[in-house]
Structures are given as C-alpha cells and as structure tokens.
C-alpha cells in the first residue's frame, strides 16, 4: 500500500525526489499541441517498441542457421522433410512454444503497422508543410528511417527461410546482381558466394536484430530529441501563432494519453495476431530454389518495388562486352530513388522556388498550398500505380482482366495518373480555398430567407465563430515575392538570382507553386447579395479575417502570424 500511496501522489512523490531538477520541470511542463494526425508518428514509435519486445522473445528460440536437417516435429505434414534449422526453429516457435505463434504474429503485424504508420506520418508532415525550416533535418532523418524500415522488414520476413520469402530473397539477389560494375561482387559478398550459399540467413539475422535496430534507436532518439527541442508544429486555430505553442502539458495529460495510446497499439496488434493469420510459413513450406507458388506477394511495403519490376519493358544493352540490365536495375532503383530523393530534396527545392527561408511553426492546411499538395498527390499516385501493379496477377484474376492488359494499362497509368492527380488536386485545393473565402466573406448559410422592409429577399448567414475564422483566415502560405520584380514589367532589370535560364525557370516555378486564390478583398466577387447587415458582420467578425483577405497577402501573413521576424539567411 505504500506503493499505492506513493503513486496516488505521483506529483509529490516525484517532486520530493527530484525537487528543483530543472530538466524534469522542463520535461513535465512541455506543451504538446493536439491534432489527431499527430498520433501517426506515435503509432510508428510504439510499433517499434512492440517489435523490440516481441522480437526479443522470438530471438530466444530462433536459430539463424542454414544447416540442413530433417524435421520431426509437431507439424506432422512436414515430417521427414529436409529444411534449414531456421525454418525448423520457426516451426517450433509456432507449434511447440506456448505463445510463440502469437508473438510471431504480433511481430509481423507490428512490422506492417510500423511501416504503414511511418508512411502515413510522412504524408502528414508533407501535406501540412511541417518539414519546413527549421525542421528539414528531422524530415531527412524520417526518410532514412523509412528506408531502413523497408530493409529491416525485408530481412525480417526472409529469416524463416520459407518458400515465399525465399522467392523474395532470390529477387533481391537478382536485382543486386544486375547493378552495373559492382553488382556481381555485391551479390557474392552478401551471400558469401553464389546464391543461395550458406551464409545469408545468419548475416541477415545479425543485421535485423542488431545493426538496423541500433540505427533505429539512434535515429528515433535524434528524431524525438530534435522534435522536443524545436517544439511541435501546430495546426492553425484560435490563439495559435508562429511564435507560440498551444496545448496540454506533458504531465499529466500527454503522458497519460500517450501511455493509453501505446496500449491501444499493442492491443490492436495483439488482436490482429489473434484473429488474423499472417505469414503461415508452414503452409508455404521450406525454401527450395526449384519451387515457387503462383500469386507470390511480398509484404505490402515492398509491393511498389515488385510492381515496378513487373511493369518494366525488356530493355537491356550490351556495351563493350558489358551487360546493362536496364530491365532490372532501373525499376529496382529508380522509383525508390525518385520518391526518396525527391522527398529529401523537396524542402530545399521549395525554399529555392519560393524564396521563403523563414521559420514555420504553424502548419498549412493542405488546400492552402495547392502546388505542394498536388505534387504530393502525384507522388502518392505514382507509388499507388506501382503498388497495384505489384499485385497485377491477383487483380487480373479477381477482375477477370487479361494479365498482360493489366500491365499494359499500368505502363500508361504510371505516367498519366500522377499528371492527372497533380492537375485535379490543384483544382480541388483552389476550389476549397474559394469555399473558405466565401465562408469568410459571407458567413455560414443558415437556410433562412428574410424579407427586408423594401421587399428585397436576403439569405440569412451566420458569422463564423472565432475558432473557425482563426482556421480559415490563416494567411495563404505567405507568398514572398522573389527578390524581384518577378511580376514587374519587362523594363525591370531582374535581380541576380533571377537572371539567365535558371532564373527564368525559377520565376516560372514560383508562379506555379505560389498559385492561390487571389484574396483581393471581400468585395471582389461582386455579388453584393450577401452583404446585408449580417453579411458584413461575418466579414468583420474578426480583425484577423479582415486582414487575411485584405489586399496584400504578405502583410496579412505578417499580421496574423505575429510578425514572423526571423531574418532570411
């Protein structure tokens, strides 16, 4: 009961022991802004913790060895079959260790959740512009973490040495071997000789359980530390500016919430592992280089690479007696390279295009950065087409389309869909901005029609509440005119940064990226119907609103972000 008493007064208990410890106080009163999307990163973090816990359990029983043996265990269907010790010990974990199957399945589900959460978390960061200065480094760390997660997952599901993952490993080896100049050597060094060799499982094992998790721990630590130090971004809202953080303190609110959230994630993994079978390796059978099952699919996160291998036409050159296997290394490296490198460079490209090198702590609503949102959606659809093509045989079967037709369609779609996605997204964003503008100018339609004494009918509107105005009237992504004259007349001499062909490209990109709905004051639309007494009230209900739709976007931005004054450097 002493424990209970101590816990009942957690605050006093801690305080009596760490009284005046400044680190603790800073830590405990850390302010955490709230938005439902902020939990996505937490899901990834907690999946990682679950992976460490369940992975440790599995490592107590797993034998990372390719030594051949004959199985005589509980799974009688494979009795007498030759297999590696890795596969046999995975069978033992599944059938002879109590809770072993549960741990295996939690581990696998958590791995899928881990990658999925990272993916969605990155999308959130991208679409809200949370990667902008000063958070570029954390964005880059995130990209490295994502890449490592793919690798860690691939190694992890290859460890049981079953037929399905063996096919994946074979493909990995084929891809490695296709890399110009060094490919053959890389393959021989990784596999300790020719494929499959006897070394790959123990080597992947040590990478999977030690090196990559170590990198994860270090990078996640850095990620969190930087986030903690820079404080969270926040979504626009009442009282939230570029210079403050509004939210609940770490202790007790965030601690309790996030603790509960960890339990939710664990519960979700446990229940998935209980009711949804995953990776039943005993059905696939042990690895055998001569066998394969139709409809082989990797885990979802490798699907886009699989699809890009399937989509590629058969191109290969032989130059000076050397083989360039474009059909393999282009699809294996290009999409990943495009997405990852593109994502890594994007913050800096955007800075260059917009000339905006100020700090940003207030997130954009995606609609308020139409070009960025459109680029993001183009990338998502590019990934999506490849991912779907990775299951082209399954699609062909379920929808009764000829297999080759699916691939032919995907070959076109991989170029066409991202372009369409870009155009459509940008239009939707601009449309949503117009809707916001309309709401700000006219208020919310109440559906009530009122007759004025002079006989005129007007539609009643309700002015927006303070919260709503704060959200909607946020400045457009503050447009900084480039160091120019960009929009100036032809007589203007362009500044140094804008000269030459690169300067012209920059100016053109700047126009595209900063395209937003012109907020030329509230009378701009010209239909004065809504401007009865109520309508006017709606517009002037908040000075912020008024300012934001005032004549100059830049000044408005300055106003409602509290005069973001950090100098450009």
């Amino acid at each position: 009961m002493a424990i209970d008493k101590a816990l009942a007064g957690t605050g006093s208990w801690l305080d009596e022991r760490f009284h005046g410890a400044k680190g603790f106080r800073t830590f405990f009163r850390k302010i955490f802004p709230d938005h439902w999307t902020f939990m996505l990163g937490e899901i990834a973090l907690y999946s990682f913790v679950i992976l460490l816990l369940t992975g440790t359990f599995l490592a107590l029983f797993f034998q990372p060895s390719m030594t051949e043996m004959v199985y005589h265990g509980s799974y009688v269907k494979l009795d007498g079959v030759h297999m590696s010790k890795a596969y046999a010990s995975t069978l033992n974990i599944s059938f002879d260790v109590r809770g072993g199957l549960l741990m295996r399945q939690i581990h696998h589900w958590a791995a899928n959740l881990f990658v999925a959460a990272i993916l969605v978390h990155m999308l959130r960061i991208f679409f809200t512009g949370a990667y902008r200065k000063p958070r570029e480094v954390n964005w880059l760390i995130g990209i490295v973490l994502f890449t490592l997660a793919l690798l860690e997952g691939l190694f992890g599901y290859s460890l049981p040495d079953d037929l399905l993952s063996g096919a994946g490993l074979r493909i990995t080896q084929g891809v490695l071997q296709s890399i110009p100049v060094v490919g053959t050597y890389l393959s021989f060094f990784l596999f300790g000789g020719e494929y499959p060799g006897n070394d790959i499982i123990p080597r992947m094992y040590i990478l999977h359980v030690l090196l990559i998790p170590g990198l994860f721990a270090a990078l996640i630590g850095a990620h969190l530390f930087i986030m903690f130090h820079q404080k969270h971004t926040q979504m626009p809202g009442k009282g939230r500016t570029n210079k403050n953080v509004v939210g609940a303190p770490m202790y007790p609110y965030f601690m309790a919430k996030t603790g509960a959230f960890f339990l939710f994630v664990f519960a979700a993994c446990a229940l998935a592992a209980t009711f949804a079978q995953i990776n039943p390796i005993w059905i696939y059978g042990p690895y055998n280089p001569l066998a394969i099952s139709a409809g082989s699919q990797p885990d979802f996160y490798m699907g886009f690479l699989e699809g890009s291998l399937r989509i590629m036409p058969a191109w290969q050159w032989v130059i000076f007696g050397h083989t360039f296997a474009f059909n393999v290394f282009i699809p294996a490296l290009l999409p990943l390279g495009l997405i990852m490198t593109g994502a890594a460079f994007w913050p800096f490209i955007e800075q260059w295009i917009t000339g905006d090198k100020r700090e940003h702590h207030l997130n954009d609503r995606p609609r308020n950065a139409p070009a960025r949102t459109a680029v993001g959606m183009a990338a998502v659809s590019f990934y999506g087409v490849l991912w779907l093509e990775g299951a082209n045989d399954v699609i062909a079967q379920h929808f009764d389309i000829a297999l080759y037709t699916v691939t032919e369609i995907a070959r076109v779609a991989v170029f066409a869909v991202p372009i369409l996605a870009y155009i459509i997204t940008k239009r939707i964003c601009l449309g949503l901005q117009r809707k916001d503008l309309h709401l700000l100018e006219h208020g919310v339609e109440t559906g009530i029609i009122r007759q004025l004494p002079n006989g005129e009918f007007i539609e009643e509107t309700r002015p927006l509440g303070e919260d709503e105005v704060a959200k909607l009237a946020l400045p457009q992504p503050e447009r900084l005119p480039l160091p120019v004259g960009v929009s100036g007349g032809e007589d203007d001499v362009p500044p140094p940064g804008m000269r030459g062909s690169i300067g012209r490209v920059r100016a053109r990109l700047n126009r595209i990226v900063t395209e937003t709905v012109p907020m030329n004051g509230h009378g701009a639309n010209g239909h004065g119907n809504g401007h009865g007494p109520d309508g006017q009230g709606a517009v002037s209900s908040g000075d912020q609103a008024h300012a934001a739709i005032g004549s100059s976007g830049r000044e408005a931005g300055g106003d409602s972000t509290g005069g973001d004054g950090s100098p450009t450097s």
């Binding site: 109590r98 809770g99 596999f191 060799g197 603790g259 519960a267």
Partner: protein, 368 residues
C-alpha cells in the same frame, strides 16, 4: 492499484503545482511578447539557457529564472457529476484488465500446444486475453484523461533557433579537413568487408551439367527415358544426377523438359541464330533452364495449349516452341537450352553444359 483516489485530487495538487509553478492559463499569456529577459511567460525555460550554449547563468543569478509565480493547474474536473460516473467506468476497465491479465496466465497454463488444433486454441485464448487486457487499460486511461482530468490549454513561446558556437560555418579549414577525413574513415569499414565472400570469377558462367550426366526427375530422382512420356503436354522439372539435394548447384542447374507433338518445335526462330545450330532435342523433348533470365525465379508455370512458360514472379513469358524466347514481360533473354541426347541405356543425358550463363543478367555476362 485500482484505488479510485489515484486520479488527481484536490489534495494532491499543491506539490504537483510546483512542477507548473510558472505556467499560467492560456488566455492571459497568449499575446505576451517576451520583452527580453525578465518578463517570463508561461512555461518558457529561462531565457539565458535558451540563448546560448556557452554561458548559462545559475538559477537565481542575475539573468536567471525569476521567482516563480504560483499558478496552479485547475484542480477539479469540469463536471463533477459526470466525473463520478467516469471514475466508475475507469475502475471497471482496470478491473477487466486485471481479469484479462489473469486470464492470460491461466490460458498459458491450460492450453497446451504441439498440434495445429491446440496451437489454434492456445493462440486464440492467449491473444484475446492479452488484447483485452491492453484494450481495457487503454480505454480506462483515455477516459481517465478525458473525463477526470480538468481540461487545460496552455501556451508557451518559441525561441528563435541558432547557435553558432560550433564554429562549423565560420572556420572553413576545419570544416573541409573534417570532410576530407570522413572519406578514408568511411571507406575503411567497407574495405574490411572484402572477405565476406569469394570473387565471382567465372562462376556464374557455368553450371554443374557435364557431358553424359543424366537428367533426373526431380522429387522421384529417377532417370528419364523418352518413352516415359506417354503423350505431349506437361512440363517436368529435372535435376542433374548427383546434385539432387544441392541447392547451391540447383539454383543454377534446374531444368525443365517439355514434350511436344511432332512438328511443333520451330528451331529457326531461336533468338540467337548461329548459337543454336544443333538439334539438341530428343524425340520432340526439349530442355530449358528453369531459372528465369529476369531475376532468377523458377519459371514454373507451363500452358501446353500455347506452349508458354510463365514465370510467376514478374510474368515474363517464354515461348517454349520457339527457343523459349521472350514474348512478354521484363525478361530480356530466352531461357538457355540444355543440349540433350540419350545414353547407351536410353536415358536422357546432357551433351554438355549450357553454352551461355543461366539466370539473371550481370555486368560481366557479356553478349553471349
């Protein structure tokens, strides 16, 4: 543990409040500008520690933190009646978690494994109790936070970033020397990896097939006579005699043989004319490498009406009647053909090894 006094109670608040001694509620603080040092606002750490990595005045010293204002978090939940109800729900959740946790231990003891059915039951019992325990704890904790803890919103100010103390930007010589040093230091561990494996040499150019080596029916491991094929149609996987259990050999040497009806095979359409001039088939039986020339999956599907061999991994499709040349998919080369004949006993044997490397492309493969 499930004692209901575990939540924040009025009595607990005084010491707890100390942690928040200089927090103030949102409304008052939002707009305050930190007018240099003295005027502390809500939850900001002392300005001195924030500004400089070099000198941090001790607390209490000039420029250090001011005497904290005694502000407290709201002590009580917003609605005491609903809080009382919520308290009961939270306790119930934690009780459920207790029971589920006990259930997990019981399930571990009760349910044995060692057979598929047993494992199914054990997994269900262990997983659902574990899931329920975590879920109940989580739900209880969330209700605790949302309904028992008073709603609070606080504001703290950001500080501009930037510390030049490292001198990284100011001293280019140091910076460049450091960058130069990273190159060999980063190369060292890569060099260290050299002994991970042998050099490729020409290993990828050959397989274990030799003159006179019998083709064994994989699985049964029996030699094959042409007469064993009763009718044209199926595809059989064969392996070289003596290597039927050697995965390292089979990963390259696996072969498929297909029996055709007379006059179906078109020899002339072989994509590398001049390379395959001999009739390497026996009695309309033809042998191809089973290893896909794309990335090495076993090309294991055969449709005998169209004579198409399909690799299930990436759908490279080969026309078996026309030298296994590629008719769809990402593979660039035909499946190599194994030269075949019959030995004195009438069994299928290899004439010699493949005349080109089998499997996926590689840099040193060359044009062959």
């Amino acid at each position: 543990m499930t004692d209901s006094t575990a939540g924040p109670q009025p009595g607990d608040n005084e010491p707890t409040g100390d942690l928040f001694s200089d927090l103030s509620a949102h409304a008052s603080g939002a707009g305050d500008e930190p007018a240099e040092t003295r005027h502390r606002v809500i939850g900001t750490p002392p300005p001195a520690e924030a500004r400089s990595l070099l000198k941090t005045p001790p607390p209490g010293a000039p420029g250090g933190p001011p005497v904290p204002r005694q502000r407290e978090l709201p002590a009580d939940p917003d609605d005491p009646v609903s809080a009382k109800r919520a308290e009961r729900v939270v306790v119930a959740c934690f009780l459920i978690a207790t029971l589920a946790g006990l259930g997990f231990i019981a399930a571990y003891l009760i349910f044995q494994v060692h057979s598929v059915t047993n494992v199914l039951h054990s997994n269900l019992a262990l997983g659902s109790t574990m899931g329920l325990a975590f879920l109940a704890l989580a739900v209880g904790a969330v209700i605790w936070v949302r309904r028992l803890m008073p709603t609070v919103e606080l504001t703290e100010l950001r500080k501009p970033e930037g510390a030049e103390a490292s001198q990284f930007t100011k001293r280019p010589m140091v910076r460049r020397a450091l960058i130069a040093a990273t190159v060999p230091v980063a190369l060292a561990p890569i060099v260290l990896l050299r002994d991970l494996g042998p050099l490729p040499g020409t290993k990828l150019d050959h397989t274990v097939w030799r003159k006179g080596m019998r083709l064994l029916n994989y699985g049964a491991n029996t030699p094959i006579r042409p007469a064993d094929f009763s009718s044209p149609g199926g595809m059989i996987t064969v392996v070289p005699d003596g290597f039927q259990d050697d995965f390292n050999a089979l990963a390259k040497a696996a072969v498929i043989i297909i029996k055709f009806a007379p006059n179906v095979i078109e020899f002339s359409a072989r994509p590398e004319p001049g390379k395959v001039v001999q009739n390497w088939t026996v009695d309309n039986i033809v042998a191809y490498s089973k290893i896909c020339t794309h990335v090495g999956c076993p090309a294991a599907l055969y449709e005998h009406t169209t004579h198409h061999i399909l690799c299930p991994c990436h759908q490279s499709t080969f026309d078996a009647a026309r030298g296994a040349q590629v008719i769809f998919g990402p593979a660039t080369r035909a499946l190599p053909q194994l030269p075949m004949t019959v030995d004195a006993q009438g069994y299928l044997v290899a004439r010699h090894d493949f005349i080109e490397p089998v499997g996926p492309s590689f840099w040193e493969r060359g044009p062959s």
